[in-house]
Symmetry: C2
Subunit: 349 residues, 2 copies
């Protein structure tokens, strides 16, 4: 059985409270007999849940094709090859790719990548060693160019990317101030991730908090939220500050005519500061070294992170809801369960 979750209409202001824009379908799994040359069938094991999905759902043209109405929701995933007509893959191979919210995907082999086969936690390739980790790494290093002794502010600091930015910021010698939305999150950011401090934006005025904690201003702001917090940070950036535009989750659930409008952008001129968007795969040639670096940091226990699993594809909409409402700490993922359907029930690790 192939369980699929499709997008049946564009999100409006009732989303993410209301999840009726998703629909679950049951179909036959892809037929191995009908596989064409260079195609593979992959069984989905872990689905990455990312804030960017909210943008893909909107139909906006970005670096990713939007999800069209009626299509299976798109997602970065990790899975196991079940059948292969590609010389590059054999059944049992752990792979990653855009498998989507479905149990099985038949696709051209060029659309998946082989993972290290002996790595004990393949789901890390969605988080710390995948989209979240590489986004944090490339954003902070290549765009933020953070230097030892600088003051780094990170919003959504307990989120999948934010938690790694906090950790990498400390490893690379910065003074790190997090911003997060609960006691529990702030505690996590300070005590587990090692941030120098963390502002609970639901409890303290962020402008006051940042003035208190960054009296000399901000060198690097890793922005996961956009909106008013971005405006506040702009008002206190130092000369040559860098704002890493990673996400604008604060505006994702807002109609565009109601979205927050930025006041302090002329500060970029007087502070010679920079605001820059990026996608980690723009730094393609630097990815292998970054993954190796991240893998070492994980292995040595120097980089802390959490994984927040929901079980079963039918829970993918709830997982996205949790992410978009800030109910998570760390990386949200869906773990896909199978009964006796296939021979790769137990990873061969």
């Amino acid at each position: 059985m192939n369980i699929k979750v499709a997008l049946t209409k564009r999100p409006d202001s009732t989303f993410p409270k209301n999840l009726d824009l998703f629909q679950l379908f049951y179909t036959a799994p892809p037929d191995e007999q009908k596989l064409r040359s260079d195609e593979v069938i992959v069984q989905n094991r872990y689905i990455s849940i990312d804030a960017a999905m909210r943008v893909w759902m909107s139909g906006a043209k970005t670096y990713m094709d939007p999800v069209e109405i009626g299509d299976v929701m798109n997602a970065f995933c990790v899975g196991v090859v079940m059948a292969s007509k590609s010389p590059k893959f054999v059944p049992g191979d752990w792979v990653s790719g855009l498998l989507g919210w479905q149990s099985y995907a038949a696709m051209h082999a060029s659309r998946i990548s082989k993972l290290p086969q002996n790595y004990p936690n393949p789901q890390h390739f969605l988080g710390v060693l995948g989209i979240s980790g590489l986004t944090a790494y490339m954003g902070l290093k290549e765009i933020g160019q953070v230097k030892p002794g600088e003051t780094l502010v990170v919003s959504a600091a307990a989120g999948a990317v934010g938690e790694l930015v906090v950790g990498l910021g400390k490893i690379w010698g910065a003074r790190v101030i997090g911003i997060a939305g609960s006691d529990e999150k702030c505690k996590y950011v300070k005590e587990v991730l090692g941030a120098d401090d963390c502002i609970d934006y639901k409890k303290e005025n962020v402008a006051k908090g940042l003035k208190r904690l960054c009296p000399n201003g901000v060198d690097v702001y890793f922005d996961n939220v956009g909106g008013e917090i971005l405006d506040i940070v702009l008002s206190i950036v130092k000369d040559y500050a860098r704002i890493v535009c990673c996400g604008a989750i604060s505006g994702y659930n807002t109609a565009s005519n109601e979205s927050y409008r930025l006041r302090n952008y002329p500060r970029l001129i007087i502070k010679r500061a920079r605001m820059e968007g990026f996608i980690y795969f723009d730094f393609k040639e630097k990815i292998p070294a970054a993954v190796k670096d991240l893998m070492d940091l994980v292995k040595n226990g120097k980089l802390k992170f959490r994984e927040d699993f929901l079980e079963g594809i039918d829970n993918a909409p709830s997982a996205l809801q949790r992410l978009l409402t800030g109910g998570n700490i760390g990386k949200v993922m869906v773990r896909v369960k199978y009964e006796k359907e296939n021979i790769y029930q137990t990873p061969k690790l």
Copy 2:
């Protein structure tokens, strides 16, 4: 006689219509007998009028100290050394520096720079070979990184910086679309400067005009105005676009709580685009080569520009008014006149 213009209060919403915040004083010129070691007396000949002055007047802390109430208005100037107790300068030397809105300035020699002594148009060192030229050059080359075949949009295209950005953009192989505020300016931008086209923002909706002229989007936007035009350009930037934040003249006369608020900044994320402020002297080590390059382009007639002179220090407030209300084409400067007061009446060129 030393004629000085001082700032007597901070600008409010009646400025630049109302010029009562400036006051003219007559004092004795600096006394040569009282000069201390390493000091010089400079006679002011040309005063550069720049939009940034509006910011210096506001009292805001920027890369320049603000002009304090009661102080002589600050300005980049070109003048002639009248007396020198510095081994680096002799009377008659043409120099540039922040002499301010006054006929004579006594200052430490470290605060002035010697100009080439045989250059026929020393005022060029305020415009095409000075702040305007270097701002255009460094902004377009180092921040904008414009490449042949790219689409470059320039606002305030008939202004002192804009006209040079248009010219350099064409010389460096871009397709150049100007934005300016009158028939006469658009004609100048197209016919004299050689832009591929120019939008008259007072006649045509800029969003429509840019869609018409840049159907495939914008690679580089050299922003001299900020505000709504910046927002429109953000809505059509291409992947990896660069926005050179040079000025926000549209907001300079507005109280900060009424300033234009930017809607489309999340486009930086989805287009992996960059917005960056700068000051040309951040690229200090590249200035000599840039000046040489600009000098050659001027000599060969390849780079066109206009100089818009007002006569006499008493006209400096009107010159700034003209600039801030868009009444100029090209570089606004004040030419300082002297009767028989000094031996350097006629430049020794």
